[in-house]
Symmetry: C2
Subunit: 219 residues, 2 copies
């Protein structure tokens, strides 16, 4: 049995979508960040780092988004959510790691400047630079999507929902995505997938709003 710990509209959305795409049977457990549940003793017993996503698979606990995606693609190979050839797999992993180690930390300066400076007077400068950096990274993503239709080319992979998380963040923080036509077309393709649409709706994600699904469907 799989148990998946997530917070709506955090980076856990990516692994959440992957679970759906894989057709996995799993129990989703929402960690309420607004109530700081991630820092409470119950969740700290599951992940001492106080972060989502976390996947429990029997006796095993898997942390870190990329490792969870790797594990799910190993466990559900028939879902073909990563390339099957060695060269493609390394390129897939490289793309995931770029998202995890560059895009996500850079975006976090906009949403969590307090993580990087204890002086609130410095936060506007962090947010401003974060906007510049995330805009540049969206340009990089747009260029990666030029061949299309998916990030790695012909085949959809977990890199698509993972990247989608950060276009959602960019939209939410007010970055103008209109210059990025490839991102726009790819976002539409992603949202047309039932698994993606289901999780974005459940999490009230900004990418579905507007036009979107009625907020009443969210948890």
């Amino acid at each position: 049995m799989l148990t998946f710990y997530y917070a709506p509209n955090s980076c856990s959305t990516a692994a959440h979508i992957v679970l759906e795409e894989a057709g996995a049977e799993y129990e989703p457990v929402k960690v309420d960040f607004t109530a700081a549940e991630q820092h409470g003793p119950a969740f700290r017993a599951i992940n001492p780092r106080g972060k989502v996503p976390v996947l429990r698979d029997g006796e095993r606990t898997v942390t870190e988004n990329v490792a969870i995606q790797f594990h799910l693609t190993e466990r559900f190979p028939e879902a073909r959510l990563r390339p099957s050839d060695p060269a493609g797999q390394v390129r897939w992993l490289s793309t995931l790691c770029w998202l995890a180690s560059t895009v996500q930390p850079d975006a976090r300066h906009i949403t969590r400047p307090e993580n990087y400076s204890d002086d609130p007077a410095t936060h506007p400068a962090l947010v401003a630079k974060g906007h510049k950096t995330l805009t540049r990274l969206m340009g990089e993503l747009d260029a990666m999507l030029a061949p299309g239709p998916w990030i790695l080319g012909d085949d959809y992979s977990t890199a698509d929902p993972y990247a989608l998380v950060f276009t959602g963040v960019a939209k939410k923080v007010g970055i103008d995505l209109s210059p990025f036509a490839n991102i726009a077309a790819w976002t539409d393709r992603c949202i047309a997938r039932p698994a993606v649409r289901k999780i974005l709706a459940m999490e009230c994600n900004a990418l579905l709003n507007p036009p979107g699904i009625a907020p009443g469907t969210a948890d």
Copy 2:
């Protein structure tokens, strides 16, 4: 033929050590950050992101530290630089991703505050917070090393030289590592390995200084 692009005492040190541990034949190419070579047209043609490490393997170009380590462990399986069982592999990948997506970006606030704010007046606050965060992360690493002798337990893996890079950064920026006895013992074990010692000496790494190898051996 493998070609490895690196900058001394950057995160590329990890993959550099892995190449040596694997007994790979490779051509090391130094990218001179002091001359901003990473932003020049020659290197940008190899990696448009202007970052090291980069591994060329025949026609293929592999970027991102974790993906390079993955590729090298696939290519040189006899070196046993990652666990052979599926559960161990996921734990190895999770550890690499924690280093890549948490430890490295957090440490970079100390060494490159200009990446995160255009206002130099804010940089001391970023550096100060970075020190606090990296000290906390060194505590986390110290706890991970308690069972020992290596990060994943009984067997050395690429996670060891990768983590060693950041203890080197911590030492270089003046973080007091004396409370972390597990890190100290593990650092000694790492440095006792010929491959580690060779690359740290070649790159004039702070972990060998003092007592160290004569600086004259560095490139």
